[in-house]
């Protein structure tokens, strides 16, 4: 059952064909054998996983399983707090940080019986698109070890792709769930802003941070979202809206759905193989009965620049808390408080995090605030208005996730070249809209390509339904990397 989706695995538990402990042991053995090369995990929680699996075994034996995620072996991005388990954020700053509580999303998965295998690697503080900015090690792409898995949720995405976890959680501030999902050939869902509580998520860009599933198929993504979505008194930005039954509408098909294909998501310089795969996917959707029309989202070319004002501004403010006083790293020997903080931050943060803190501090500083931050917030409104106008005509937007397939380690040393990777992913974060990446083919070199659906706020159901219809009509999910 290794490498099968969660819903099949837990169905096999129910039928008594295997047990959570057997599955967990097999996954742990695979991690021990393969993760030295892959680098998907920062921490493997072996003992805890086996204990949780044994509890799950007992529930199945007693006929008291807690639903389709009971006994599911998962990988959680290391930006999510786990009580008693070190949570590093991929940073030296938090190398020894042991949270006193669980993130709400993890608490909810634990409550329905999920088994944590460990904490997934990531770009430091979720800043990056390749997982090369992890302070501890890079993660490799299971389809080609010379290439990056994407980022910042590269660890859990690679773990799911390589069958070192049955599913997982990532976070998406500027594409960090969908871009690695596309590069690794798995499903990644960024829900509506506020759909999932961020209590216990280490903050990066507070108006942009989202938690969501990384999964082997769309059904699993729906099940994982079902478990983590919904109001939480501990996060005031978490929406009180009711959570629909996502699985119930999954198989309704796309007949009658109106899909918009935005001109601005097919740009000069994008990989021809990606464009071909996405256009072929659109033909499949048309064949399934969807009505496809060309649309325009004219602010799109400005979204990335806007993101690189707003996200670093919020990051510079959020990361001010790492001052060496209350938790995290402290460099010894400083003669006063300012020197202690400045030297601690110099030693604890990597180059990309420093760059973003500097950029964010600059755009918020006296004399530049209105020219950069104020203007970016207004352009963000233009991005949002584009989507509002489009959703007056269409039900979903269909687009590529990235302009290219996974690139090689060390290939994007220029920070701006790295940032441009998220050009198609960032607008949905800016507008807080639900968006999914679902595999839509492979390049000639055998690298996965992702198809993106973007929906109206809180309409994850339609996003999942269209992704499911496409997935069921195509063979991509059955292909596996040859690793191990």
């Amino acid at each position: 059952m290794i490498g099968r989706p969660i819903h099949e695995l837990t169905e096999a538990y129910r039928r008594g064909e295997t047990t959570p402990t057997a599955a967990t042991e097999t996954y742990l053995a695979r991690i021990a054998k393969l993760d030295g090369e892959l680098g998907a995990y920062l921490t493997v929680t072996r003992e805890q996983a086996l204990r949780a699996a044994a509890d799950s075994d007992a529930r199945y034996r007693a006929g008291k399983a807690r639903g389709p995620l009971d006994g599911a072996p998962l990988a959680y991005k290391d930006v999510l707090c786990t009580r008693g388990v070190v949570t590093t954020c991929g940073s030296r700053m938090l190398e020894a940080f042991v949270p006193p509580y669980d993130a709400t999303a993890i608490e909810r998965l634990t409550a329905v019986g999920a088994v944590m295998l460990g904490k997934g690697n990531m770009d430091e503080f979720a800043m990056g698109s390749s997982t090369e900015h992890s302070a501890f090690k890079p993660t490799r792409n299971p389809w080609d070890l010379a290439r990056v898995p994407g980022g910042s949720s590269g660890g859990p995405a690679a773990a799911v792709a390589a069958s070192l976890a049955a599913g997982g959680l990532g976070t998406d501030t500027g594409g960090s769930i969908r871009q690695p999902a596309a590069f690794c050939g798995v499903v990644g869902l960024k829900p509506t802003y506020g759909r999932v509580s961020r209590y216990g998520l280490v903050a990066f860009g507070s108006s942009l941070d989202h938690i969501g599933p990384l999964a082997r198929d769309v059904t699993d993504a729906a099940l994982l979202l079902q478990a983590i979505a919904g109001a939480d008194a501990r996060d005031a930005t978490c929406l009180p809206a009711p959570v629909p039954d996502y699985a119930a509408t999954l198989a309704q098909g796309v007949k009658g759905l109106r899909l918009g294909l935005p001109d601005e998501y097919f740009i000069e310089g994008m990989d021809a193989e990606v464009e071909r795969a996405v256009r072929a996917a659109v033909d499949v959707l048309r064949g399934l009965g969807a009505a496809v029309e060309r649309i325009s989202l004219p602010a799109t070319p400005h979204a990335l620049a806007t993101y690189y004002v707003i996200a670093p501004a919020e990051a510079s403010s959020n990361l001010a808390r790492y001052d060496g006083v209350k938790y995290g790293l402290r460099v010894a020997g400083a003669k006063d408080l300012v020197e202690m903080s400045s030297r601690t931050r110099a030693a604890g943060f990597g180059a990309e995090v420093k760059r973003r803190i500097m950029l964010g501090t600059y755009v918020l500083s006296a004399g530049y605030y209105e020219a950069y931050y104020g203007r970016a917030q207004k352009v963000r409104t233009l991005v949002r208005r584009d989507f509002d106008a489009a959703f007056g005509r269409v039900d979903l937007i269909v687009a590529p996730v990235t302009p290219n397939v996974a690139f090689k380690h060390g290939e994007k040393e220029d920070p701006l070249a790295m940032y441009l990777n998220d050009i198609f992913a960032v607008p949905a974060d800016m507008a807080g809209l639900p968006a999914i990446s679902v595999p839509c083919g492979f390049s000639a070199a055998g690298l996965p390509i992702g198809l993106q659906f973007i929906g109206r706020a809180l309409d994850e159901a339609s996003v999942l339904r269209a992704a499911y219809a496409y997935e069921q009509a195509t063979p991509w999910r059955e292909r596996r990397p040859s690793l191990g």
Binding site: F97, V309, V325, K326, Q377, L382, L416
Partner: protein, 99 residues
């Protein structure tokens, strides 16, 4: 062109409480300059009269009942402190000795 100078970088680094080495300073200057040049493309847009978006989802003044709920035990919350004395965080001296 934003024209970021070495002095700008030093000023921002001081505000951000970030000690930078000499080589880091020059790299940072060049990279910030390049990123800000890219960002400057936003200046061609006319945003007159456009209201700013601070959050994608409009939620204001989320209130809860004013009820006392249990907090985390102090000792547990202090467990990650790099240096502490009893229930306090210990830091380097911040005031001059005036006595």
């Amino acid at each position: 062109m934003p024209g970021i100078t070495r002095e700008d970088v030093l000023h921002i680094a001081r505000l951000a409480r970030l000690e930078l080495s000499d080589p880091e300073l020059e790299t940072m200057r060049a990279q910030l300059d390049s990123i800000l040049t890219y960002i400057d493309r936003l200046k061609v847009l006319d945003v007159t009269g456009v209201e700013p978006t601070s959050h994608a989802v409009p939620l204001v003044n989320v209130m809860r009942d004013d009820e006392v709920v249990p907090s985390f035990p102090q000792d547990e919350m202090l467990r990650n402190a790099p240096d502490r004395v009893g229930e306090l965080f210990r830091v380097p001296r911040i005031l001059e000795d005036s006595a």
